[in-house]
């Protein structure tokens, strides 16, 4: 019966969420997490969990995607953040604590966290 109750909760949640406006920052921020074998072995799942927690705490809707190995295994876990209309920043050796900082600084305020940057790309 737990399942039925949970589905009821889900229906209620749907009604609540439908009224909300989730659009922010003139479009969604993109967050890309490296999930190749190298990323996972370096702790990418914990970093992803920390990002999701921080986004939930701050009630931010972002588009999170995962990618495979990009050839910088020694710098994993790698996280890319792209704010709409801004350059793509790749952060390396990100810990769960860093991940919260990246959300607070870069995602929310657009301030690049320089000490963790490993690459920048024009989108």
């Amino acid at each position: 019966m737990a399942t039925l109750k949970s589905l009821d909760d889900l229906r209620k949640l749907r009604e609540q969420v439908q009224g909300e406006i989730t659009e922010r920052f003139g479009g969604e921020v993109k967050i890309i997490v490296g999930m190749g074998t190298c990323g996972i072995a370096a702790g990418a799942r914990d970093v992803m969990t920390a990002i999701l927690q921080e986004l939930r705490t701050r009630n931010i809707q972002a588009a999170i995607t995962q990618t495979g190995c990009v050839g910088m295994c020694e710098r994993e876990p790698l996280i890319d953040i792209v704010r709409p209309g801004e350059e793509r920043i790749t952060y390396g050796r990100v810990t769960p604590v860093d991940a919260k900082r990246l959300v607070a600084e870069h995602v929310v305020h657009g301030r690049v966290v320089e000490d963790l940057v490993v690459a920048r790309f024009e989108e």
């Binding site: 737990a2 229906r11 799942r45 995962q66 990009v70």
Partner: protein
């Protein structure tokens, strides 16, 4: 990898890389038969017979950035250490099935670990991929099909933060019951 759930996350990345639209994860823990079984099925592009034969070699990869691949060979090594092994069944254009078997009670068998974090990671990053999860622990079982959740949600995306919150609670509760918790 310290947890089987990390191997699962790794294999799912292979399935996503193969363009899968539907991924099924099956876990079976059977203490009577002393077996711990993990299966991943996907409908991705599949592998040729020749590639399957080579795929357990760590020097095999589809990657172009580097010439060494490790995911499946690491999993195979983990199963071998626990009196098990892996089987790969794949067909070009149809998809791939990977089945990994471990001796449940083996000293070296890694714990399943945080499977909830693995599932939430996959779902939050791939809301358009259908994920089917089936988990059996002896005579108890739990299953989740994201398509059923999507049906209830209508036009709200699966990776909406409020939905992920719900999912987190739901999985905690169901996994707890699966292991006999109150």
């Amino acid at each position: 990898m310290e947890e089987l759930s990390l191997h699962i996350l790794d294999l799912v990345q292979n399935s996503l890389g193969a363009g899968a639209g539907c991924i099924e994860i099956v876990i079976e823990e059977n203490t009577d038969r002393d077996l711990f079984l993990v299966e991943i099925h996907d409908d991705g592009k599949g592998m040729s017979r020749e590639f399957v034969e080579r795929v357990l070699n760590p020097f095999t990869t589809t990657r172009t950035t580097r010439r060494v691949g490790l995911g499946l060979s690491l999993l195979e090594m983990a199963t071998r250490q626990c009196n098990g092994g892996i089987e790969i069944d794949s067909e070009l254009g149809r998809g791939t099935k990977v089945r990994a078997v471990f001796q449940h009670s083996h000293w070296d068998r890694a714990p399943l670990g945080n499977i909830k974090a693995t599932l939430i990671t996959i779902i939050s990053a791939n809301p358009l991929v259908r994920l089917v999860y089936r988990h059996r622990v002896n005579n108890r079982s739990f299953s989740l099909d994201t398509e059923e959740v999507i049906t209830v949600l209508g036009d709200i995306p699966l990776n909406h933060m409020a939905v992920l919150d719900w999912l987190e609670n739901y999985l905690s509760q169901e996994l707890n019951e699966l292991y006999g918790g109150g």
